[in-house]
């Protein structure tokens, strides 16, 4: 469920610039080391700096934004005779031991990208951040201006990530708010990125406050996600759904472990979810199919555990009508589970690695070239492809007939095709492109016929209700998203800057996901990890520390878990 709410129909304003990257710099006034946000504005390039004592400054870096981006990407070309690491750029990451922010050299080595860091306290470290340097470098060409919320949740005082909430220097609004309605769960997944306390279910009053705050910040939201813990363990889940059923909210998504399908064998379930869930998953999939419930599956992919079953998940997506979307998440080693999961930070799955495995394991049904970075988040965070269903039941990825660079708004809109004016115009452009070049395009005539069917059902000669529009739109194309959450090894402050998945807090703050997991939740390296000294301490979230729900019965879920495990 990525970027559901960035459509141009929104009344929110775009950011005044396109955020490109971070680079080390210094305050012109006091000389202190600070980070510069490099942004593209009106065809020029500027460095925006924030120094806590001296405030905000900006300086022009280049008169030609296009040339600047071209040069950046060209800098990713490793000279043929170069031995050793090729320095691509710098950024700010974390020391994997103490979580202090440290400068990282972003280097290309044997076609892969690594962070090289040197913490003053803990010493040097390295981490793999991308298995394909070409993908990594080219992704910077996809950057696009973010959108501003109606209201920011915090002010710029100490800088990123301390000011999370979001502050006025954050580069993207809340595309997908995640509301953790409970910290109870019926599983203790070895890949879990949170830190369940089994202490609380969010009260309906607190939930209402969160919803009100989200609408105040965003106006309208195409989706909100209820998460946890396991959200279906909340005893008042239906009440919460009723509260969130408002005109301003298009869809309520439940992020449940029931729809996490990370493999097809008992061994993968045990390693990823803590126990063999084969029967439960099969039963759940069967029920969803019988009831024809539109389904998005999440596949947390881990090196050496389930990477060989990635293609099988894609085949399942293609085979089942009711499965509309598949979300691959390379495992992030953060939280109570993921933080403690055995791993090698130099040999792990990253987005291009998962894409390569999709290509290999589906025997080219989906190719590496079918995927493109999602430009509305940081381009290194999410990659995606849309797949059009042809009339004979086979599928054709959009990238084979639509130019994502040209039809960028196609990527901006939704995980599924929305029946909107903007989508109508984009589809028309795509249709005319295919029409004009159908002889050159793979299965061009078939694609045209499928697009004709899509237009017929998405834009009928009657007014669709919003629900109908969503339902019909989502059935026309399937999607595969890859979203790589960050951990202490590959954390990149520049990616956090443009994060659009935000944990909505009862105190009103909207916390960019990886920043919250890393610094504010306090569980970046598992339960024994001390809090980072870099950000503010984790928020004293009222629903965790004070206003416990009347309905909460601490221990209940734990007790149930024991029963389930017997």
């Amino acid at each position: 469920m990525d970027c559901q709410s960035c459509d141009a129909g929104s009344e929110r304003a775009d950011r005044p610039h396109t955020f490109l990257l971070h680079e080390p710099s210094h305050c012109e006034a006091c000389g202190r080391d600070v980070e510069a946000r490099i942004v593209l504005r009106d065809g020029e390039v500027f460095a925006l700096k924030f120094c806590p004592p001296c405030g905000q400054t900006e300086a022009k870096v280049s008169d030609d934004a296009d040339a600047y981006v071209r040069e950046l990407i060209a800098h990713g070309d490793v000279p043929a005779n170069q031995a050793g690491d090729h320095l691509f750029k710098h950024t700010t990451s974390t020391c994997p031991e103490c979580l202090d922010l440290v400068q990282a050299k972003v280097v290309i080595r044997s076609g892969q990208v690594f962070f090289k860091k040197d913490c003053a306290k803990c010493g040097p470290s390295e981490a793999l951040v991308s298995e394909d340097s070409s993908y990594y470098v080219r992704a910077y060409g996809a950057a696009r201006a973010g959108t501003e919320p109606h209201k920011f949740g915090s002010t710029v005082k100490a800088g990123c990530p301390t000011d999370c909430g979001t502050c006025g220097d954050h580069e993207q609004h809340t595309c997908l708010p995640i509301i953790e309605i409970t910290d109870h769960c019926n599983l203790e997944c070895p890949v879990c990125i949170v830190n369940n306390q089994y202490s609380n279910h969010m009260t309906t009053a607190d939930f209402s406050k969160v919803i009100d705050r989200l609408i105040e910040a965003e106006g309208t939201l195409e989706s909100i996600a209820l998460s946890g813990g396991e959200p279906t363990s909340h005893p008042l889940l239906l009440d919460l759904i009723r509260i969130a059923t408002r005109d301003e909210i298009g869809r309520i998504v439940i992020i449940t472990n029931g729809l996490q399908l990370d493999g097809f064998s008992p061994e993968t379930h045990e390693k990823i979810r803590g126990r063999d869930l084969t029967d439960e998953k099969n039963a759940a999939l069967l029920a969803l199919e019988e009831l024809d419930i539109p389904t998005q599956l999440i596949f947390v992919a881990a090196r050496g555990i389930n990477e060989h079953q990635i293609g099988q998940a894609v085949e399942l997506l293609l085979a089942k009508d009711h499965i509309l979307s598949l979300n691959f998440q390379p495992v992030a080693h953060t939280g109570r589970g993921g933080g403690n999961l055995e791993h090698d930070p130099m040999d792990r799955l990253t987005i291009p690695g998962v894409i390569r495995r999709i290509d290999e394991q589906t025997h080219g049904k989906l190719k590496t070239s079918d995927f493109t970075p999602l430009p509305c988040s940081h381009p290194q965070c999410v990659s995606l492809t849309y797949i059009l269903r042809l009339d004979d039941g086979s599928y054709l990825p959009f990238a084979r007939f639509a130019d994502f660079k040209k039809h960028g708004n196609l990527l901006r809109s939704s995980a599924t095709l929305a029946s909107t004016r903007e989508m109508h115009d984009i589809l028309q452009d795509v249709i005319y492109d295919v029409f004009a070049d159908q002889d050159k395009i793979e299965r061009g005539a078939d694609a045209l016929r499928a697009l004709r069917r899509t237009v017929d059902v998405m834009f009928p000669d009657r007014l669709l209700t919003p629900h109908e529009a969503i339902r019909i739109g989502e059935q026309q194309a399937k999607s595969i998203f890859l979203h790589h959450y960050m951990d202490r090894h590959d954390f990149d402050l520049e990616r956090l800057r443009k994060c659009c998945h935000h944990y909505a807090q009862v105190d009103g703050r909207l916390m960019p996901a990886c920043g919250f997991n890393m610094f504010h939740r306090g569980a970046a390296k598992g339960e024994s990890m001390p809090l980072s000294g870099l950000g503010t301490p984790p928020s004293s979230t009222p629903y965790l520390s004070g206003s416990r729900s009347d309905n909460a019965e601490p221990g209940t879920a734990k007790a149930r878990l024991k029963v389930l495990n017997q």
Partner: protein, 248 residues
């Protein structure tokens, strides 16, 4: 050397073997265009038009293809594009006339009239449009009629078909303007040749009586307007219906 309005352009005129179609072929060629036209049955007229153009040293090709034959149209367009690289101008001119009151009109009469004018324009445009979209430029001119825009004595099915072309023009102009293609409609009054010749004499006289210029028009006069409309010098007119009727 004076520069022609249509220098370097390739134009396809449907129904170009006689009447207004032939006049447009001649004027377009004179203005520097390479001209292709199709004809359905009148091979002799087509040959005459072609010989006339070639005798003047102008580039021209004739194709026997019905505007209702999708395959034939596609083959014709492919041949023209192969020879010239692209089609820059399309004139949907092919048409028929028939004077019959509604009371006696057969379903076949109606269908034939609508097919040749409207479906023919649709099929030909679709065949040519691919290339224009690729090039991101093009001029499409539909030959409508005064009968399609004003309440005059004219056969109902003819007026309906010509009015449909006006709508076709406007909707298509909106739809494909973003690709640099303009679509306009020319609506002539009664002319000295072509379908106007089917009109009973008293109707021609009525027309002349109501026309400010007190005469019927000529195909050549309309063709001159058409040449400007499809030229690059006419760059901002789009979705328009231009009436050329001597002021009726």
């Amino acid at each position: 050397m004076s520069k022609g309005l249509l220098d370097g352009k390739t134009a396809l005129v449907t129904g170009g073997s006689r009447g207004l179609g032939r006049a447009m072929c001649e004027v377009f060629a004179r203005e520097g265009a390479r001209v292709a036209f199709n004809y359905s049955r009148s091979e002799e007229d087509a040959r005459e038009t072609l010989e006339h153009l070639r005798a003047a040293g102008l580039d021209a090709w004739a194709f026997q293809a019905s505007v209702l034959d999708k395959t034939g149209l596609r083959a014709m367009v492919a041949q023209i594009e192969e020879r010239t690289g692209s089609i820059d101008i399309l004139v949907n001119n092919a048409g028929i006339g028939q004077v019959v009151p509604l009371a006696l009109m057969e379903e076949d009469d109606w269908d034939r009239m609508m097919d040749v004018h409207v479906k023919g324009a649709f099929l030909t445009t679709q065949a040519v449009l691919r290339g224009m979209v690729r090039q991101k430029r093009g001029r499409i001119l539909n030959i409508g009629s005064l009968a399609g825009v004003k309440m005059i004595d004219a056969p109902v099915h003819y007026s309906a078909a010509k009015a449909a072309l006006k709508g076709f023009t406007e909707a298509l102009a909106k739809e494909i303007g973003r690709y640099g293609i303009t679509v306009n409609c020319l609506a002539p009054g009664v002319l000295d040749e072509g379908v106007s010749q089917n009109l009973p004499k008293h109707r021609q006289e009525d027309y002349i009586n109501h026309c400010a210029l007190r005469r019927i028009g000529t195909s050549a006069e309309v063709a001159e307007v058409a040449a400007f409309v499809v030229s690059d010098r006419n760059s901002y007119m789009n979705g328009a219906t231009i009436v050329v009727d001597g002021a009726v």
